[in-house]
Symmetry: C2
């Protein structure tokens, strides 16, 4: 069972572990791979940022009971301030060991619902690396459209300069 | 004579005056119109941000000599960190009283030259409000292309929700 909930202070260690793993790989986010724990958590728990975690039941070997462990995290926030604050932005992280189980998809659906609930009129992803094909496909399934291709805007650690997509979705008005 | 040079601490008051005027109008930047002086200067003089001013000769009435006064300011910085740090971003401000004299154009040309000199491979403007037609035309003349239209991504104080352009230019390699 996957449960998605707002993050609390007690999630900070796990979030940093996930964040650090994703950033150290350096193939999906335009963030310095050596960003510090403090810097990372200041970013992920920034002012005006809604922070969520996805947790999965885990069977305890000793007792045949379950506890929860965090297998993903995402943030949702205004993409801009002032006259641009009605468009949301989001970022998602799932550790390698938890991929391929639909956690990204569940967080994406949760995020779009939350964005609507919070009154945003649209969602924009500013920087989807084109070689991150599973993410691109997933966002398209969730209604995000590629509205721009930024040529060579990301320097991939193995593939060199690769294109980046801007993705956007205007929410239908209720 | 227009001279463009790196900003110094002694320009901070003038920059704040220009910044505040532009932001208070609220029709071109997705920034809270009530951003404080400290917030504004922290943004305009941020880490990794190159800050410039354009100054114009002004005839002193009393002595028939000239002094300089600042008539515009711009910033140049990486648009992203890590694998995205080779793409530059810039923002420009000219106070209303100084518009229509080619100051924006001169700063734009200076900025693109500086970006190349600093080793950036491309320039990206993330948020050009479509109703800011003189800016859109100017950037196009300087080689920037509209790569995305973000529908209704800016709430204009008089015109309501208007489109926003993402503009991009890949620099020719020397």
């Amino acid at each position: 069972m996957l449960n998605i909930r707002p993050a609390t202070d007690s999630d900070r260690n796990t979030i940093w572990e996930i964040f650090h793993e994703v950033i150290a790989a350096g193939d999906t986010y335009p963030i310095d791979s050596e960003m510090s724990r403090d810097g990372a958590l200041a970013y992920w728990f920034g002012n005006g940022t809604h922070t969520y975690v996805a947790e999965l039941d885990r069977l305890k070997r000793s007792s045949f009971q379950t506890d929860q462990h965090v297998v993903g995290t995402y943030i949702l926030r205004p993409n801009q301030s002032g006259g641009g604050a009605h468009v949301a932005n989001a970022a998602f992280m799932v550790p390698a060991v938890a991929r391929g189980q639909g956690i990204g998809r569940a967080m994406g659906e949760h995020c779009l619902k939350e964005a609507r609930r919070l009154g945003f009129r649209a969602m924009q992803f500013n920087f989807v690396v084109s070689t991150n094909e599973s993410a691109v496909k997933l966002w398209q399934k969730l209604g995000m459209k590629i509205v721009a291709t930024l040529p060579g805007a990301f320097r991939h650690p193995e593939k060199g300069y690769v294109d980046v997509y801007v993705m956007f979705q205007l929410f239908a008005r209720a």
